[in-house]
Structure formats: structure tokens, C-alpha cells
């Protein structure tokens, strides 16, 4: 009681926890994220096979990156994959997400199946599709499916689209889930008002659903575009970047150059390029979407 009245006399002391409690997180982050970033820059000026110690070679790796090494090809493939997977996944995910936002029983049953690929690891998906697409014994090897039975992963002209398809198979469920959540937050009254005005389903979709989903579209697109810089597991297991260099996108190029080609210095230079690309992309998208957020606030939302 006495302690109570003593404290009650003055304002309650708002000490809060010590800043030191953030230290464990900062130590982890500094050790395995900040230091490696700096080290990647440093390693890009060295030659190192992965064994022994790195030796300083100045700008050699960066010169090689711009001349002898086929960086342009890897970069171009990365951009193509980024654009292709975005263009395939976005419309399908939006439509499926909006469709699954309905609470009908059969749609909930469909959703249970749709989301299964989310649970599988990239390794599991890659191993399964590698065997499933085998031209001799795979899914399409049976009679009656000959027109689908192509060398999907072995033909340099087809492999890129095949990889994009498998990426879509893996990630569309995730983005569908995002859009389903977004679509369920659209106020029902908007649709009722539109229905009274005589707007049909397509018109409702274009005039209400899509604009209402714009933040979800920004989030989902950011994850897809920046994520395209990190596709590794799937392609590594499916094709190892091949056949030839047909699927050797930047992260794979970095891994193969470093850990298979034993040129860790050159691979570090590629890593630095990856970081810069990732940062620029994130910043560009968040700035652009920041503008759209400001505009919408002007609209009075």
C-alpha cells in the first residue's frame, strides 16, 4: 500500500526495457548479413578458389565481368524470367484469388487442393517435375499424349518456358492466397451499389475489384520481381543452368562460377551486382507505390 501511494504521487516512471535487448538480433544481423555484404565487395577484388586464402587482384574480376565472362547473357535471362513469370502469375493469381474469395463450399474445397504446392519444398517440386517431364518415362510418355511429349527440360528452345511454368506452378498458390485475402477485404457495399447501378460482373471486376486490390498488386508484384533475382533451388536441381547456358540466370551463374568453377572472386562480383539490382528494384517499386499511395490519399481514402 505504501509503495502504491508513493508511486501514485508522481507521474508513472516509463523506463521501458534496455536497448541492450536488441543486441542479440543486431549481432546476428551484423555477423551474417552486414559483414558478408562488405566481404562480398572485398572478395570481388580478390582471386580465391575456395581453398586457402584470397589474394588481391584489383579490378581483374570486374574487368572479366564486363568482357570475357558472359554476364550479359545471365542478366538478360534473369530479366526475361522476371518479366515472363510476373506476366504469367499476376493475372492468374488475381483471377483465382478473387474467385476463391467467395465462400461457397466447392470453392473452399478447390482451395484446399490449390494451396498444396505451397507446402512442398523447391527441392521436392524440382525432383518431381524432373521425373514427371522425362520424355521416356514421364507423365506424357503414355499413349495418347504424344503431342505433349516433348523434351521439355532438354531442349534449349523449350527449357526456359518450362522453367517459368514450374515456377508459376510453385508460386501462383502463394499469390492467389494474397489476392484472396485482399479480395475479401473489399467492402460488400461497393458491389451492391454497383449492382443497383446495373454494372455486370466484368465491369464490377474492372471498376471495383482491381482498384481495391491495388496495394495487394504492389505487394505481390514486389515479391515476384525481387523474388525473380533469387530463383535458385528449383533451377539448380531441374537443369543446373543448362542445357548449355539456356537457364543460367544470375544467381545460378554466381553459384556455378564460384562453387563449381572455383572462381570465388568473380562470383563475388556477380553477387555484388545481384545486391545492387535487388536494392534498386525494391527502392524503385516502393517509391513508385509510395506515389500511388499519396495519390489515393488525395482521393480521400
Amino acid at each position: 500500500m505504501t509503495a502504491h501511494s508513493e508511486r501514485g504521487a508522481g507521474p508513472v516512471r516509463r523506463s521501458g526495457p534496455s536497448v541492450l535487448l536488441t543486441l542479440p538480433a543486431l549481432v546476428f544481423f551484423a555477423t551474417f548479413a552486414i559483414v558478408p555484404l562488405g566481404a562480398a565487395v572485398w572478395l570481388s577484388f580478390t582471386e580465391w578458389s575456395g581453398l586457402g586464402d584470397p589474394t588481391w587482384v584489383g579490378l581483374d574480376n570486374w574487368r572479366a565481368l564486363l568482357t570475357t565472362h558472359d554476364t550479359g547473357h545471365a542478366l538478360w535471362l534473369t530479366v526475361q524470367l522476371m518479366v515472363l513469370t510476373w506476366a504469367v502469375q499476376t493475372p492468374v493469381s488475381i483471377l483465382l484469388g478473387v474467385f476463391l474469395a467467395g465462400r461457397q463450399r466447392y470453392r473452399e474445397i478447390l482451395a484446399v487442393v490449390y494451396f498444396v504446392p505451397l507446402l512442398l519444398s523447391s527441392a521436392a517440386i524440382a525432383i518431381a517435375f524432373r521425373n514427371l517431364l522425362d520424355p521416356n518415362f514421364g507423365l506424357f510418355a503414355g499413349p495418347g499424349l504424344a503431342w505433349l511429349n516433348q523434351n521439355w527440360l532438354g531442349d534449349p528452345d523449350r527449357v526456359f518456358v518450362t522453367v517459368a511454368f514450374i515456377i508459376a506452378w510453385q508460386f501462383i498458390p502463394f499469390h492467389t492466397l494474397l489476392y484472396q485475402g485482399g479480395a475479401r477485404q473489399v467492402p460488400q457495399s461497393l458491389y451492391e451499389a454497383a449492382a443497383i447501378d446495373g454494372a455486370g460482373r466484368v465491369r464490377q471486376f474492372l471498376a471495383i475489384t482491381l482498384p481495391q486490390l491495388r496495394y495487394t498488386i504492389v505487394t505481390s508484384s514486389t515479391l515476384m520481381l525481387v523474388g525473380a533475382l533469387t530463383y535458385f533451388d528449383l533451377i539448380y536441381i531441374l537443369t543446373q543452368g543448362g542445357p548449355g547456358n539456356a537457364t543460367r540466370i544470375l544467381p545460378l551463374d554466381m553459384y556455378l562460377t564460384g562453387f563449381t568453377g572455383n572462381q570465388m572472386g568473380l562470383a563475388s562480383a556477380i553477387a555484388v551486382v545481384l545486391v545492387v539490382l535487388g536494392m534498386v528494384l525494391s527502392l524503385t517499386i516502393s517509391t513508385a507505390s509510395g506515389f500511388s499511395r499519396m495519390e489515393s490519399q488525395l482521393d480521400g481514402e
Binding site: G16, P17, S18, V19, T22, P24, A25, F28, F29, T31, F32, A33, P36, A39, W48, G50, V92, L96, G102, R103, R107, V113, Y114, F115, L119, L120, S121, S122, A123, A124, I127, A128, N131, L132, D134, F137, L139, F140, A141, G142, P143, I172, P173, L177, L178, Q188, Y191, V226, L229, T230, D233, Y236, M254, F259, S268, A271, L274, V275, G278, M279
Partner: protein
């Protein structure tokens, strides 16, 4: 009693009846139906193929139509996988995932709690630094991390997977927890302090129980990422003693080669723990997956 009962149930009924309606008019959504049917086929056929292939005999795999279920299904493929160190790989994956998630939740929670409860320039700087981590692609750091792990003598040790995995999960974890903790009303904390509770007691007795949903969410999200992680195990471990499941799948492929049913059985077995979670806690799991991206 008789007067209070209807007033208590009425709002619940209203909330439940509203979303049950179809969002668009009464006409059937033909385009949506066709697309969803098509996507169902695209998703379901590979899954169906995986299941029936995993119970085929090897002769059946080479002879039968790939889409017709085997007439003499067998579990031998599963037995073969289980006899080939599957349990060890499963244990490795479990050890890595459980330890990583425990560290992430404890370290991340302490950090998020401090950021919210001790606002100031220093904690704001901590938060901003961590948020920067959201834009760093994990792939770009693997060469220096490999160098550091080798120099630290941790190569081919499960710790080598755990430590970097924790790091790359921290930014999103702290972000989600901070957003959640900020919504806990300040007067609740002040009441605890007035009652003489220490900062630790306030955190453990008030904040932690209240933020259980957010903790479960980050645990699911981070747990799945670590469980399915491939790159860190690939570059930081080597021997079968430290092999985790995703990596084991590639070694099964190399080991069984043309015994495809056995390879596919390994794919199924490696996915079973998560599929079991899906069966028992689908909503919770799906909510965890879109952690932090939902809004």
C-alpha cells in the same frame, strides 16, 4: 437470463451470415469457373502422378500408362527410402528447424519488444537497419558466409545452417512482431507497472500471452522457410551425417537414378510432416504463410 440470451447471439449471427453470400450477383461465373477448373487440372495432375507413381513397382513404372493407377500398388518404395537413412535426414531437418525457430522467436521478440516499448532514436535506428535486411538477397551473401563458416570451423555442422537461417528470418520476424506489439494498448502496460511488475514480468505475463497469434504466425512462416531451405545446406554441409531433407532428395535421385518410384516416394515422405500440419491446422498454416504480406 431469457432476455440476455438473444442479444448475445444476434451480433454473432450477423457476422456469420454476411460472408456466406456470393460476392457477385446470382448469375454463375462462367469465366471464373473455366479458369479455376483448368488450374485445378494443372495443380492436381502432377500431384496425382506423384502419389500413384510412389506406389508403383519399377516394372509397372516402365510398362503401365502413367495416369492409370497401378493394379498392384506397393509400399516397397517407401520402405526402400526409410531404410536408406531417411530418419537421420528427418532428424537433422527437425533439429535445424526447431533450434532456428526457437532462436528466431526469442531474439526477434526481445528486439521487437524493445523497439516498441523503448521508443527513441537508438531503437528506431536498430529497426531501420533490420528493415534494410528485407532487400538483401540471401544468395548474394553465400560466398562470404561460406568463407566465414569454414574459418570458424563450423563447416559441415548443423550450426552452420542454423546461424545464417536465423539471420535472414529476423527482419521479417521483427517487422511482424513490431506491428503486432504496437497494437497492444499502452494503458495495459502502465497498469502492470503501477502494480509493481518489473519490465521482464510485464513482457512475460502481459505482452507474450497477448501476442501469441503473432508468435505462432512468425514461427510457422520461419519454420517453413528453414525446413524447405536448400541453399545454406548445399554450400555449408557435405556429409550424410549433416544432410537435411531437401538436400537428401537430390542424393536419393543420384542414388536410385532410374528407380523413379523410389525417388518420388522420397519426395512424398519429405513433404509428409508439412502436409500433416496442413491437414490439422490449414487456416493457421495459410495465415502464417502470408505473414506480414497480408495487408
Amino acid at each position: 437470463m431469457t432476455t440476455t440470451a438473444p442479444t448475445r447471439t444476434a451480433p454473432v449471427k450477423m457476422i456469420r451470415s454476411q460472408p456466406a453470400r456470393a460476392p457477385h450477383g446470382a448469375r454463375p461465373n462462367v469465366a471464373g469457373g473455366i479458369l479455376s477448373g483448368l488450374w485445378f487440372v494443372i495443380v492436381a495432375i502432377p500431384l496425382y502422378w506423384i502419389v500413384i507413381t510412389s506406389v508403383r513397382t519399377q516394372q509397372g513404372f516402365f510398362g503401365d500408362h502413367p495416369l492409370v493407377p497401378p493394379s498392384n500398388p506397393t509400399l516397397d518404395n517407401y520402405r526402400l527410402v526409410l531404410e536408406n537413412d531417411f530418419w537421420r535426414y528427418l532428424l537433422n531437418s527437425a533439429v535445424v528447424t526447431v533450434s532456428a525457430v526457437l532462436i528466431i522467436v526469442v531474439v526477434g521478440y526481445l528486439c521487437a519488444y524493445t523497439i516498441v516499448r523503448a521508443p527513441g532514436p537508438r531503437t528506431r535506428r536498430v529497426f531501420n537497419v533490420l528493415l534494410l535486411g528485407l532487400a538483401i538477397p540471401l544468395q548474394a551473401t553465400i560466398i562470404p558466409i561460406y568463407l566465414m563458416i569454414v574459418k570458424a570451423g563450423l563447416y559441415d555442422n548443423l550450426l552452420a545452417i542454423i546461424l545464417p537461417s536465423v539471420t535472414f528470418a529476423l527482419p521479417i520476424t521483427v517487422l511482424i512482431l513490431v506491428n503486432f506489439l504496437r497494437d497492444i494498448p499502452g494503458p495495459l502496460f502502465e497498469a502492470m507497472r503501477i502494480d509493481g511488475a518489473s519490465e521482464w514480468q510485464t513482457m512475460l505475463r502481459l505482452a507474450v500471452p497477448l501476442s501469441r497469434p503473432a508468435i505462432v504466425t512468425v514461427a510457422i512462416y520461419d519454420g517453413l522457410n528453414v525446413w524447405n531451405g536448400f541453399l545454406f545446406p548445399l554450400i555449408l554441409t557435405q556429409s550424410p551425417e549433416t544432410r537435411v531433407l531437401p538436400l537428401a532428395l537430390t542424393s536419393y535421385q543420384g542414388m536410385f537414378t532410374i528407380n523413379v518410384p523410389a525417388v518420388i516416394a522420397a519426395v512424398v515422405l519429405s513433404s509428409l510432416p508439412i502436409l500433416a500440419l496442413y491437414v490439422f491446422g490449414r487456416r493457421q498454416l495459410l495465415a502464417g504463410m502470408t505473414a506480414g504480406f497480408g495487408k
